[in-house]
Symmetry: C2
Subunit: 249 residues, 2 copies
Amino acid sequence: MTEEVKRNVRLTIEYEGTEYAGWQCQDDQPTVQAAMIMSIEKALGERVIVYGASRTDSGVHSRGQTANFRTSSQLAAWKIGHALNSYLPEDIAVVEVSDAPDDFHAQFNAKGKWYRYMVRNEMYRSAVDRAFSHLVRGTIDVTAMQEAAKRLVGKHDFRAFATQVTAKKNTVRTMKRVEWTKEGSMLTLDVEGDGFLYNMVRTFAGTMLKIGGGAWDAARMDAIIESKDRKQAGPVAAPCGLTLMRVYY
Amino acid sequence: MTEEVKRNVRLTIEYEGTEYAGWQCQDDQPTVQAAMIMSIEKALGERVIVYGASRTDSGVHSRGQTANFRTSSQLAAWKIGHALNSYLPEDIAVVEVSDAPDDFHAQFNAKGKWYRYMVRNEMYRSAVDRAFSHLVRGTIDVTAMQEAAKRLVGKHDFRAFATQVTAKKNTVRTMKRVEWTKEGSMLTLDVEGDGFLYNMVRTFAGTMLKIGGGAWDAARMDAIIESKDRKQAGPVAAPCGLTLMRVYY
């Protein structure tokens, strides 16, 4: 019996999402999951399923995507990391590898996630920060955005910030941290919560940028949450600004 | 007489140096200076010389390269920025433009520069930080490097840290700040001084990485400075870790 239980390997994966149609495998489009499956096949000689904690969207980046897969390989965990990195393209890298308990599942066991959205507030585009931030020209009222961010903290029904959500779906989530910080012309939004609806962080960002731009005031955030109506919130901000920072278990 | 004095335009230029053979024009190799000259010709219809403050090397990046050029164009400074950016490749961007006093020269008027060298100290390569940091595996003693860095501060003959320097050249420079900071697995060396010899910052980094790796102790830095002998210092660290942050006038 026990011989049938294959070793469970846990990975932390970094990627620049620019060139990928997101995490999840899709026909005829490059995805991070497909690149991972291919590298494992080349490195370990096995075709496996790789389970990722977050289904990051097209163009979204990661510093902390967590995944797991089963293997018969007896290679030391740290050597698996080097083997995978040697087959992965330079915009994807395994940065942590460990043997996980048999029942560890990257997606189902996740207790929370930390996402970061970066906004470059300048007149001109950047060369150095171009891949990982979204350019917004014009004056941004960071204080107003910070005020709006506070209203998102806590347990709320976040239906107004979800794309393509069915009526039946439970859209209540708890946000532990929603916070803007400013360093020079870079505005950083950190969002930590127990779960996220589709496009939720980018819709948080898009809504707060409306407030920061002066179109809406911060207090309107309460009304938007209350409405549970997607049409009341702001647009989905560009994917290039979003990075999955960490998954908590 | 005054009609002959052309307008003097000052630029701050960001670039990712990965794909360039440095700042300065070279036959048959892509350089940032050549890209700037080409973009000005396309945007303003004039072939000009662009003077850069720092002759950054192949693979070295910039957040603050400063340059100037003369033009007959009457276009508002901020519009020149947008026009140049529309012709520049995505890894080069003009981030500040202003009209400068007639006697401003980006290279000759520079009073100091700030360079940053970034070292990623991890077992595995990074996807997100790959372009702007140098990967060093194994344990690094940051405290020893901080101790060594202090010994470089002040006015010294830095001949031991210069590549291809003639016997006659004045190699005395004053370093205002030489400092390592650590955030997670990223070690950042900030160096500010009144002038820099060829390969000096990268040789600082290479020498201190020898010390951080335990091959040499921090006190040896004094003897290396004293020796004025290039062979006593460490290797030139990889260009990808270096970024020109700012030029002071």
